[in-house]
């Protein structure tokens, strides 16, 4: 039997443990290399998994050989595996960047990083709602550890908010799990979808409150208005490779939203079908606008990037609310694009800050940079991509988003918000870029240079921006295939629970 | 008969626990409160043993044993805290 599905979870934890044990843990170089090599292997494995999934369709891995719905299963469909693949791509960039010296500014960087990968991959792959909680906690606790990496007041301060909010969020998650288990009697996501369809009417509203509590949990993780306030401080305080990795963290919330509200509360759910959309739609639009306002309000570049993350979250949430194949496809494409580009931007912010001396990444005139051409090119590529302008990946994403809008009202709202926010991002980024690169006070450049490993890391992530355009054809096909597959609940249920499981009356 | 006795003893112990809680609430001093808490720990052993009797099941014995062990450690820790501030020094 193939254990490829579980590899993205086990390989990182194995690596983490290996790094913590002799003989690896003695030398920083060994720790780095083991971590980097492992991440490369992870990337290869996830790509293999993606190819396999594309070829063979949805498959699942029953842990402990206990068949669903009784045991925990991992589910590989194109969407989830693509997310895992994305994570390992991002991770490779972040870990290479971290290995250029950032990792030695505190203890346990590589183990925590690998644990974080384990949590993220687990969250993407699991087909069990409680197991999702567990993996959420794994990735959260690892992120707590990583957040304070390299120390500093801002990190501690941000961490207190981040941790308390997420602890409260975990409590809500458990409340929700209690409600859903107490009414549906199962934890397997596919089985929940089956049970929701057969729900007696007196339990409907209870399930609804449980389902909507999940919305809060995921909204907090994804940073949707009004639960997004923790994000800018947290992401901008985090150590650069950590912030880069965090770029995928909000996407986990989005992914979970999508998974839960297209599968459990999907079309088969009768009165509960699409119950979250009424909330997600306005909140998503408002989140985009707030992010755009944040971009213009930001006084330093990292905050700006953090707000870009918020915009991407808002966009994705809005798409999730649309509940159509085109929208789901757009979610996947846009997620890949925005994650990699935002990750790169966090790294870039650090390099820019380092070369600008005391001014750092604050948007004030600063020292002349030592390598303005290199950093400037990277900045332009990233900025063009993130603003959704051609010829970088953002514009394909934007096209998909705009084309995904269904009704005229949706079009008017989504288009005006997305386009307006694009303009605000454009203004914000051109302002930031012109201050960072052009408002030079004094002529002396500092001694800081971009290290080869850092340049590689950044290049690796940024390369996505043009490549995703060049290969936009196959990538959009992948996205649409993933969307179709995800929305074809009947088939997935048949594969996971066997053909015997039926999902109520079909609409 | 035995069931009635058990319920009677249940009542006694519940009353004892309430008295402990009373002392815990009114204090007045911290040692008083700690003493009250320690006593509550011990009295809950009795409560759990009685549950075991009532249910005719020995499954609850470990809980009682653990309360005995852990209650002691926590009392000691709190006292140490009040004495030295630094529990582990």
């Amino acid at each position: 039997m193939s254990h490829l599905i579980i590899a993205p979870i086990l390989l990182p934890i194995f690596t983490a443990l290996l790094i913590m044990l002799p003989p690896i843990h003695y030398s920083p170089m060994r720790r780095r290399w083991v971590s980097m090599v492992s991440t490369v292997i992870l990337l290869i494995l996830t790509v293999c998994l993606l190819l396999q999934t594309q070829a063979e369709g949805v498959s699942f891995y029953a842990l402990g050989a206990w068949q669903p719905p009784f045991g925990i299963i991992l589910v590989a469909d194109i969407f989830s595996v693509s997310m895992v693949c994305l994570t390992s791509m991002l991770a490779l960039g972040a870990i290479c960047y971290g290995s250029a010296g950032e990792d030695e500014k505190g203890s346990f960087f590589h183990p925590l990083f690998q644990f974080q990968l384990m949590g993220i991959n687990g969250a993407f792959l699991t087909g069990d709602l409680f197991n999702l909680f567990v993996f959420f906690e794994v990735l959260l606790i690892a992120s707590y550890g990583l957040l304070v990496h390299a120390g500093g007041k801002n990190k501690t301060k941000a961490a207190v908010h981040y941790v308390v909010l997420n602890l409260a969020g975990s409590a809500v998650f458990l409340f929700s799990l209690g409600i859903l288990y107490g009414t549906l009697g199962t934890l397997n996501i596919a089985d929940m979808a089956v049970q929701v369809a057969k729900l007696p009417p007196e339990n409907l509203m209870l399930v609804k409150s449980g389902g909507l509590l999940l919305l809060i949990v995921f909204a907090l993780k994804a940073a949707i208005l009004p639960l997004q306030f923790w994000l800018p401080a947290t992401y901008s305080a985090a150590s650069p490779p950590v912030a880069a990795l965090f770029a995928v963290m909000t996407k986990i919330g989005i992914y979970a939203l999508l998974r839960v509200y297209t599968t459990i509360f999907g079309e088969q759910a009768g009165p509960l079908a699409g119950m979250a959309s009424d909330w997600l739609w306005p909140l998503g639009l408002a989140t985009i606008m707030l992010g755009a306002i944040g971009v213009l309000a930001s006084q330093d570049f990292r905050k700006l990037v953090a707000n870009l993350v918020i915009i991407s979250v808002g966009t994705l949430v809005t798409l999730v609310a649309l509940q159509s194949s085109a929208a789901t496809a757009a979610v996947l494409f846009y997620t890949i694009h925005s994650t990699l580009v935002c990750g790169a931007l966090f790294l870039l912010a650090d390099l820019i800050g380092a070369q600008r001396g005391k001014a750092g990444d604050r948007l004030v005139p600063g020292r002349r940079m030592a390598q303005p051409a290199l950093l400037g090119t990277m900045f332009v590529v990233a900025a063009v991509a993130v603003a959704g302008l051609p010829p970088m990946s953002g514009f394909v994403g934007k096209l998909m988003i705009l084309q995904a809008a269904g009704s005229p009202l949706q079009q008017v709202l989504l288009w005006s918000v997305v386009l307006l926010s694009s303009l605000m991002v454009l203004i914000g980024l051109s302002r930031a870029g012109s201050i960072l690169f052009w408002r030079v006070s004094g002529n002396e450049a500092g001694p800081e240079r971009v290290l080869p490993l850092q340049a590689f890391a950044l290049g690796w992530l940024l390369l996505a921006a043009p490549l995703m355009v060049v290969f936009a054809g196959p990538l959009t096909e992948l996205s649409f295939a993933a969307a179709e597959q995800m929305r074809d609940i009947q088939s997935s249920i048949a594969i996971i629970l066997g053909d015997a499981a039926t999902v109520g009356e079909q609409p | 008969m035995l069931e009635n006795v058990i319920f009677l003893v249940f009542g006694m112990i519940s009353l004892a626990l309430l008295l402990n809680l009373w002392r815990l609430l009114i204090g007045p001093s911290l040692p008083d409160r700690i003493l009250a808490l320690d006593t509550m720990f011990i009295n809950s052993i009795a409560l759990i043993i009685l549950y075991g009797l009532l249910m005719g099941s020995p499954l609850y014995f470990e809980a009682a044993l653990l309360i005995a062990m852990l209650g002691f450690v926590s009392t000691v820790a709190v006292c140490k805290f009040l004495l030295r501030g630094d529990i582990i020094e």
Binding site: I72, G178, S209, L419, F437 | L17, L25, Y60, I88
Partner: protein, 931 residues
């Protein structure tokens, strides 16, 4: 395929200067010119087909799902624009070679320029509207880079940002328009869209589409009121101005008007919007141009005015007007590009562009002056030059429209007025620069430019004359082909003759020339009048607006986000109340029909104690030690509740975790204040109480509703299979280590990671040791009371024995690795408490983080071991063995897994507690080489 190369070559060309950066300047320029030159040749190769009225097409699938393909269409219009872009582009490359100084990075300039050329070629060659938009935006970006080429100059930065903002905004509007067009027509294919004019114009969205479309065009082509960015873009190097801001980019909007003419034009709305905008722009540009002292400023406003003219022509909606528009595009490109280049030469060789300083240059650079004068005359519409011809056609068309009904005469009158000003500023350009006395305050003596710097101007001026003299011969085919592709159907009869006889348009030209001269001669009065008007500085206004926008955004942001965790939490909690509470309102009754269990006095007493202690925790929360004691009772009562409701494993775990937590909190309290100051205002407290009660009510209600509902669950499977499939009778434990062992795996990972994170947090923490407790009492002197020390030593083996017992029985009875681990850990912590870190460390020197790793590794390896048997991760195995004397013994892989749990728990708990305890000792965590 060759068509694709027309597009690809400039793109490759943008890499050439990067590669050849280290070559000599001329070589670099030459190399850069090669790709566009080849492209131009390919283009010309297709000229015969295009002039014959063919549209050449090439399509390459790219993103079919989005309707975005690489689709090229070379028709007359595209050919015309390509010719301008490539031809003038080549001249600009040559010109820039001399214009740029040694300090300027020429490769960077060329790279941007070629990128821009690619973008323009992309626009004009697109046969797919999404592709068109792609290149459209690319022009904005590349022009941003070009305008800001001298980024050290503030006006360059500002001008570039302004241009980007305005054209970027327009581009987004255009995108919306194009997408809507695609939805209306069902295709993003230009062929399809252009063929669906009727469908589009009858569609309900037509007005919206048109407005968005025109916003895109007008911003790009600097139409009033979006014209302001163009003069400020003049901070760019002059080759850029000549290329982008006269010949190409600003024409992109015009191109679009022409391109979509078949699909969008012909309605009243089109006429109203386009012609009025064009007319206004024409007038405003012409008028303002006169007052600019900066040479390039004058040319910039002149450009605005001429763009308005062309827009007006397309707005009028007649076929002949469209032809005139196309013709003027050609003419304007030639004379304006040459004028800009001439201005650049003047600037380059005299050091100034200020017409108040520049005087009498005729003496210093007669050849350049002659060229400039010819070009300016063309701009003024002097006969025998190309500008005259198209202007005549324009005048004629203004006379032939009746769109404003009885007020239609206004249009020719205003056109004449604009022409008057056009003549006036052209005269100023000639007279004020080349004559009008001697130069004032120039930093260097002007002279003729290098030979090849002037050549591009010469080429263009010759073209102006040739077209002016023999229009039919020179541009006849081109104009016909271009007009054909604009109009789509047949091209109307038009004549390119120089002389049309004495007619009203000629009179208008004469009036314009005379009036222009008159105005220029009396310019002093007009200048004085203009100076009395309040000046609007576009760039400062724009910057101020942007600053204001940023400030407003900051205000909004800080109003929403005050950085207070409490506020964030309030949002979260309100979300709970709303999202979980609202559905409850739709529930008729909470009670679900399941009979309730009876309440007895003992339970009531237990509940009372739970509630009282919880309440007391809140009441005493400012006295932290007391609160801690109170919450211990809560925990105790919860454990007892678990016992009561038949969950012994839970009770055990809850108890042990609680004790460890209490110890942890006690340890922590040493480093925290012992009292919480009173801080919350009464309103805050009331708000919090109400919010808390609401959340409590919602949660409590849901809990009740669930507990009283009948229930089907998958748990029966676990009860049925625990013994047979998992080898244990304690179903909870079998679930933990087998059915849902993966959860447990994640759970111990969490514990392990937490301990690492904690170790990390405690690393290099600034240590402070309070010398007294909260009441100012000094600490007791005795560190390790004898009785405690002695007894704790004796308890250790006892506790170890108990934990071994709990560990092994877990599979069949309450217990298990986790609880056993906590018991061991607590016993060891007791040693720390009773004897101190030094004592323990001298007896047991283990790095706990390694213990954690070993524990997790054991669990991991146990799980992976099932791969050897071709079973999924964590598949359990158990069997019974008959051993002589000892009897039947069960061995199960779950025990190994549980051992991993045990080790991890011991390691993590000790790592957490001991690290914290060690903070006050010399063994505290500091970051070292080995983690």
């Amino acid at each position: 395929m060759t068509l694709l190369w027309i597009l690809l070559l400039p793109l490759l060309g943008s890499l050439v200067p990067v590669v050849t950066a280290n070559w000599r300047r001329s070589a670099c320029a030459m190399a850069t010119a090669i790709p566009p030159a080849i492209a131009l040749m390919i283009l010309l190769y297709h000229s015969s087909a295009v002039f014959a009225g063919e549209s050449l097409r090439y399509t390459l699938a790219w993103i079919p799902l989005l309707g975005l393909d690489i689709s090229i269409r070379l028709d007359g219009l595209a050919f015309l624009f390509s010719l301008l872009i490539l031809g003038i582009g080549l001249l600009i490359i040559l010109y820039a070679r001399y214009y740029l100084s040694e300090q300027d990075s020429m490769p960077r300039f060329y790279a941007y320029l070629m990128l821009f050329m690619t973008a323009m070629m992309g626009i004009v060659l697109s046969n797919n509207v999404l592709q068109l938009w792609l290149f459209w935006e690319l022009t904005s970006i590349s022009s941003f880079l070009l305008i800001s080429y001298w980024w050290h100059k503030s006006e360059a930065r500002r001008g570039a940002r302004m241009a980007l903002t305005v054209t970027g905004a327009g581009g987004l509007c255009l995108l919306a328009a194009l997408l809507l067009l695609g939805q209306i027509t069902g295709s993003y294919d230009l062929d399809v869209i252009l063929a669906s004019g009727a469908v589009i114009q009858q569609h309900g969205w037509y007005p919206l589409v048109l407005v968005l479309f025109l916003l895109g065009c007008f911003t790009k082509s600097a139409q009033f009121p979006f014209h302001f960015w163009l003069p400020n873009a003049m901070a760019a190097p002059t080759p850029v101005s000549a290329y982008l801001h006269s010949a190409t980019m600003v024409k992109a909007g015009i191109f679009l008007l022409a391109r979509f003419y078949p699909a969008m034009a012909g309605t009243d709305l089109w006429f109203l919007l386009v012609s009025i905008t064009g007319l206004t722009t024409l007038l405003v540009g012409a008028y303002l141009a006169l007052f600019k002292h900066d040479l390039k400023g004058l040319l910039a406003y002149s450009t605005i005015s001429h763009l308005g003219l062309i827009t007006l022509l397309f707005g009028m909606g007649t076929d002949l007007a469209a032809v005139a528009g196309v013709f003027h595009i050609i003419n304007h490109a030639t004379f304006k590009a040459s004028l800009f280049m001439a201005a650049g030469i003047i600037d380059h060789e005299s050091g100034s562009r200020d017409m108040r300083k520049l005087n009498g240059l005729w003496h210093f650079m007669p050849i350049t002056a002659t060229l400039a004068m010819v070009a300016a005359a063309a701009m003024a519409g002097v006969p025998l030059l190309n500008g005259f011809l198209s202007k005549e056609m324009f005048f004629a068309e203004t006379l032939h429209q009746h769109l404003l009904g009885s007020l239609s005469w206004i249009i020719p009158v205003l056109a004449t007025v604009a022409a008057i000003f056009s003549v006036a500023y052209s005269m100023r350009f000639i007279h004020d620069v080349f004559f009008n006395g001697k130069p004032k305050g120039l930093t260097k003596t002007p002279h003729e430019p290098p030979r090849y710097m002037r050549m591009p101007v010469e080429v263009l001026v010759v073209l102006c004359i040739l077209v002016g003299v023999a229009p039919g011969y020179i541009v006849g085919d081109l104009l016909y082909a271009a007009s054909l592709s604009v109009l789509g159907t047949a091209v109307p009869e038009y004549s390119l003759a120089i002389w049309h006889g004495l007619n009203l348009p000629l009179l208008m030209s004469v009036v314009a020339l005379a009036g222009g001269a008159l105005i220029y001669i009396n310019r002093k009065h007009l200048f004085d009048f203009q100076n009395t008007l309040p000046g609007v500085d576009a760039i400062n206004t724009f910057e101020a607006a942007m600053k204001m926008l940023a400030k407003r955004c900051q205000q909004i942001y800080s109003w929403l986000d005050n950085g207070s965790l409490q506020r964030y939490l309030v949002f979260l909690l309100m979300a709970i109340v709303v999202l979980a509470g609202l559905p409850l309102l739709q529930l008729d009754t909470l009670y679900g029909g399941r009979p309730e269990l009876p309440v007895d006095a003992v339970n009531a007493a237990g509940a009372a104690m739970l509630l009282i202690s919880a309440f007391a925790t809140v009441v005493f929360h400012r006295q932290r030690v007391v609160a801690l004691l109170m919450i211990s009772v809560v925990g105790l009562m919860v454990s007892i509740a678990f016992t009561r409701f038949s969950a012994p494993d839970l009770a055990l775990t809850q108890l042990s975790v609680e004790v460890v937590t209490i110890i942890l909190l006690m340890l922590a309290l040493f480093f925290l204040p012992h009292k919480t100051p009173k801080q919350s205002s009464p309103t805050r407290v009331i708000r919090d109480i109400s919010l808390a009660s609401m959340v409590g009510v919602v949660i409590g209600s849901i809990s009740y509703a669930i507990m009283t509902r009948p229930f089907n669950t998958i748990s029966d499977y676990f009860l049925a299979n625990a013994k047979t499939g998992g080898g244990g009778t304690n179903v909870v434990n079998v679930i933990l280590v087998d059915f849902r062992g993966f959860d447990t795996f994640g759970e111990i990972a969490v514990l392990g990671i937490a301990s690492l994170g904690i170790f990390k947090l405690l690393t290099r923490i600034p240590v402070f040791k309070p010398s007294s407790d909260g009441e100012g009492r000094p600490w007791a002197l005795e560190r390790h009371p004898v009785l405690l020390a002695t007894v704790s030593q004796g308890l250790l083996p006892l506790a170890l024995m108990v934990s071994v017992f709990i560990f092994f029985r877990g599979h069949n009875l309450p217990g298990g690795g986790f609880i056993a681990g906590l018991v061991t850990a607590v016993a060891l912590i007791l040693q720390y408490i009773a004897h101190g870190v030094e004592w323990v460390k001298s007896r047991m020197n283990i790095e706990y983080q390694r213990v954690v790793a070993v524990g997790l590794m054991v669990a991991l390896i146990t799980g992976v071991a099932s791969w050897l048997f071709n079973k999924p991760f964590l598949t359990s195995w158990f069997d019974y063995f008959d051993i002589p004397l000892l009897g039947k013994i069960e061995l199960a892989s779950a025990i190994a897994f549980d051992a991993g749990v045990y080790i991890t728990v011991v390691g993590s708990t000790l790592l957490i507690l001991a690290s914290l305890g060690k903070m006050t000792t010399s063994h505290r965590p500091v970051h070292t080489e080995t983690i």
